[in-house]
């Protein structure tokens, strides 16, 4: 198959999935449980992205003091909890990562 055709089909499928429920919503009656479930999409998806970034190093589960990303991530979580500020959280996390990489 031609590479441009592959990209076009891949793009169409991707767009179709992004468009699907935005388009269909409102055209059908959405059950109450489903509506409630949607509120849990952000914490669930974001945590599923965050956890491997912190707990895996090189694809291996790593809970040790040499896992600088995990430690810096914990600093960021605490900062986010107390400051509720995006910029401060990112700065704290990056600073922690640089310092830990420098020390360890």
């Amino acid at each position: 198959m031609n590479i441009w055709l592959v990209m076009l089909l891949g793009g169409l499928v991707t767009f179709g999935m992004r468009f699907s429920l935005i388009y269909l919503f409102g055209r059908f009656q959405v059950p109450e449980t489903m509506r409630r479930a949607l509120h849990y999409v952000p914490p669930a998806v974001l945590s599923a992205i965050i956890f491997p970034e912190l707990f895996l190093s090189g694809g291996v589960f790593d809970v040790s003091l040499t896992n600088t990303r995990l430690l810096a991530g914990l600093v960021a979580i605490l900062t986010a909890w107390f400051s509720k500020n995006t910029l401060i959280t990112i700065l704290a996390g990056m600073a922690a990562l640089f310092l830990l990489q420098y020390w360890l």
Binding site: Y23, A37, P42, A44, A48
Partner: protein, 238 residues
């Protein structure tokens, strides 16, 4: 009229601003993609156009890799579809907030819907409820990401992945997601949803095509919903 325009601009620029920290992590990612796609044997125009036709980071990496291995076209398309399956969750999650828009708006916003545009937008929507010009926020976040993705792809194609790994700029992405998710954890069902999704994502990380991510997300959603229903029942019997 004037106030309306101000409100639109306000939402739009709030979206751009909210997207900003994510761009720090996206920029080197786009450069790496551009460099990698060339190495994989894509032509410069093809490598660049994939960033606007498919416009979904991780699936572009995998597609470039599969093209390099001369995998059959249908396999590549199918792989892109599975890797991007999670976008249906984003589509469902944003749908109630975009329900009143015209099909033209829905089409444009769906095209711009990525992980990085979804995250700040849904947090903004959940915090502020339905606002008359809220869709301009997603437009701002989406366009900021889109233009950064195109520019960083181009730089990667022409300069190679020039930003050293040791700068760890990619870490800005999970950090921004942390900054977004922690304030959302108001109450036990939300915390349980986050923790269960995180644990499943670790247990299932070896699954191909980001299926671990989807499995983890569905688990978290189910756990949160069930806990909330239980809490509601307890409240009623008391």
């Amino acid at each position: 009229m004037f106030t309306t325009r101000n409100e639109k601009a306000g939402q739009f620029w709030a979206g751009v601003r909210a997207e900003f920290p994510l761009l720090i992590g996206v920029f080197p990612f786009g450069m790496i993609y551009g460099a990698l796609a060339l190495n994989a044997g894509l032509s410069k125009p093809a490598a660049q156009m994939m960033s606007s036709i498919v416009f979904a980071g991780s699936s572009q990496f995998i597609a470039a890799q599969l093209i390099h291995e001369s995998a059959p076209g249908l396999v590549i398309v199918l792989t892109i579809a599975i890797v991007n399956l999670r976008h249906m969750l984003y589509s469902a999650s944003l749908a109630p907030h975009l329900a009143s828009l015209s099909t033209r708006w829905k089409t444009l916003l769906a095209y711009l819907l990525t992980d990085e545009a979804y995250a700040p937008t849904i947090v903004h929507y959940e915090r502020n409820g339905v606002q008359p010009f809220g869709h301009w926020f997603l437009l701002g976040a989406g366009l900021a990401l889109w233009s950064t993705w195109q520019a960083s792809t181009a730089l990667g194609i022409f300069l190679g992945a020039a930003i050293p790994d040791s700068w760890s700029l990619d870490f800005a992405l999970p950090l921004t997601f942390i900054a977004m998710v922690v304030p959302v954890l108001k109450g036990r069902p939300y915390i349980a949803a986050a923790l269960s999704a995180g644990l499943v994502s670790l247990a299932a990380h070896a699954l191909p095509f980001k299926l671990g991510l989807i499995l983890a997300a569905l688990t978290g959603i189910a756990v949160g919903t069930i806990l909330e229903e239980r809490q509601a029942q307890k409240g009623e019997t008391r």
